[in-house]
Subunit: 413 residues, 2 copies
């Protein structure tokens, strides 16, 4: 017997027939004698519809009222799943965030879970009842419904699993696991049986859109074993665990775990920035104050002029705001011109294995150079090397790197 949390995303809940298939999976786990709590997303398309209503009502909507509207999507799917489970003779009931309660911060529409009362929930599932919980929501300190931001249902699932000390948290989605890279770009991409939390964080944040980054971080913090599985077919999925869960030598076999790409960054270049103390701080302090996340930074010194060009990336969605902020700080910074480019991609090679292997970065640079792909910026971390390239080269770069690091599946596969 195990205590498990199962989470089903929007495409898994899209329509009554899919909800029936979801209920059948749950019934199997329940009949195997497990204690089961289920987290559900809204039916696919529903949250978009509700968000659109709020935007049409007012571009400056009150996030507390937005939460009232948007949280209804998961409320509906949790009630429907409970009805479906009962019709299959599985004891089940829905628990709204305010009923358990799932306490959140007061940052409506992007709240954080601050606590989950595990007494009610623990009693329910220990008594053999399947608890169905709407994801993405809880109740804030002032007793109002609060949502966690888009994709928050993964985070709900992990938070419930952590609070309940679940043996595992299974995330059912429309893909059957985490791949070495996007299979639409590289048909020979391989499904990974096991990755570490750290690798998953790098893969997710740089483009492998399987799990919400926040949920992986939370799972890592609480040591909740995560599994990504398909709602639509049988399969072992991908296990996301701590390094300690790997066998001796299992991790070293694999130099690179995956190749990710991210088209959501924009490049900004300030030319002829005065090379004086504080000028770089004058660039990045106002951006930080405006809550704009700067990722890659490159400085090119021009020895003859004493000036320097500064290039960095910001999320595409924040580009317009970033340019505003920088125009406003032009005098303080002291630059000649500002240029921006959204036709760029960040390519990352990720792998815990690179800690104990030299030459990962040089293989990357050489492989790209051989194909004439220009590198615009570089960042590295302990388990990742990222480069910025022109967007047109995205697929080519991903394919040649996938081959270069030996990730291609066997032809016979």
């Amino acid at each position: 017997m195990a205590r498990i949390v199962m989470k089903f995303g929007g495409t898994s809940m899209a329509g009554i027939e899919r909800i029936r298939a979801v209920a059948e999976r749950i019934k199997r786990e329940h009949e195997a004698g497990n204690e089961v709590a289920v987290i559900v997303s809204a039916m696919a398309g529903e949250t978009d519809r509700l968000v659109q209503f709020c935007r049409e009502a007012s571009s400056l909507y009150d996030p507390r009222e937005y939460d009232v509207v948007v949280s209804s999507g998961e409320q509906v799917s949790s009630g429907l799943l409970a009805i479906m489970l009962q019709s299959m003779d599985v004891p089940a009931r829905s628990w709204m965030g305010w009923q358990l309660p799932i306490q959140t911060s007061d940052a409506h529409s992007s709240a954080r879970i601050s606590g989950i009362d595990k007494d009610i929930l623990g009693e329910a599932i220990a008594g053999g009842q399947v608890a169905v919980i709407p994801g993405f929501q809880g109740v804030s300190g002032d007793g109002r419904v609060a949502t966690l931001g888009r994709g928050g249902s993964d985070t709900s699932a992990v938070a419930v699993a952590a609070a309940m000390k679940a043996d595992r948290c299974d995330i059912y989605t429309d893909v059957d696991g985490v791949y070495t890279t996007d299979p639409r770009i590289v048909p020979r991409a391989r499904k990974l049986a096991k990755v570490t939390y750290e690798e998953m964080l790098e893969l997710a944040s740089v483009g492998a859109k399987v799990l919400q980054t926040r949920s992986v971080g939370l799972a890592m913090k609480h040591g909740v074993p995560l599994k990504v599985l398909s709602s639509f077919e049988e399969g072992a999925g991908t296990l996301i665990v701590d390094e300690s869960a790997f066998e001796e030598g299992e991790m070293e076999e694999q130099l690179i775990t995956g190749i990710a790409h991210d088209k959501n960054e924009a490049k900004v270049t300030l030319t002829a920035v005065a090379d004086k103390p504080g000028s770089v701080a004058n660039i990045f302090t106002p951006l930080a104050d405006a809550d704009i996340n700067v990722d890659m930074i490159v400085q090119n010194f021009a020895r003859d002029t004493g000036n320097t060009d500064v290039t960095f990336t910001v999320p595409k969605d924040d580009l317009a705001r970033a340019l505003d902020v920088l125009e406003g700080a032009k005098e303080a910074i002291g630059y000649r011109e500002i240029a921006s480019d959204t036709n760029i991609t960040k390519i990352s090679v990720v792998g815990v294995g690179m800690r104990s292997h030299a030459g990962v970065a040089s293989t990357m640079f050489q492989t790209l150079a051989d194909r004439g792909i220009n590198i615009l910026a570089i960042t590295t971390s302990e388990i990742k090397v990222s480069v910025l390239i022109e967007e047109d080269y995205t697929e080519l770069a991903v394919r040649v790197l996938h081959t270069a690091y030996g990730l291609d599946a066997e032809d016979a596969a």
Copy 2:
């Protein structure tokens, strides 16, 4: 300054532009210095969609889970209206049934309001905030969302008005008031400026589908003045009040207030029922036990045989069940045959004025007889005479009675 409750139905809330028009009406009342609480229905079509989901999930759905699903429609419209009001600089917030709370009985999907905490609500509206409350729902004793049954938003509005001792409760709908009869049948039907609760109860329960019967009964009990108004055009609407609110003589001027018709009844006839003590009880006791509401009853004695035919009506929706019950009780009752007919209509003339006027019933019978319309059954109350006729004669009967009682509007109107 007055304290008013405003209620907007599904067609009034159908889409963002209509919600904007609703918000403008509320703003006007608020700017006039009134304390305002608003009850909203789900956007038109939304509740049907949600009910359909539940039925598809399971024909035997748990009403507690049904309530979780179906209550979301009003939750959405209340959040959207609050957003819209705020965008017009009207201070507003939504209050879910569980937040106030609006306490209900445990009869999920057809719960009754048992109490409303007026402290929170009173403080909010006295402070100048418009309180937006989803209709049709509250929270049951076990802390779960409970709905009041279809059309329950009218009841929510009256219950809130009663709890808050509101000066009036304005029901905005897609018609501009209560008419002497259905204007689709009689184009010269007149809008009534004022009717009594008792008349409205008879008119509503027999077919003038403007207000939910339960809400009128509740308004009568608590003396809440109701007003029916159009959301879509300006106008005085129809006031529904106690008889004491009528001027001296105002009521006597009008013999008959309206003509209603109801096609939702079915006729059942048992032939050759043994004319012995208890045989009628043997018919109606099992029907009552099965919660089937019997309306009109006629007994025809056949002097020569000592037997009698018994005819009565039941709601069309309950006919199949009623026939089952009667088949099962055949031996106990002792009848020869059972026959049923759904092609019937109940026509009612309603008016408090008939208390002080003789001849209302005979005018009705004579008018129908003059047109060759056969009367199948009759019931009367202090302010109503109802007859059962063949369905094909419905429109003709309504028209000739409307003229006979002098209800037709002037040509110049």
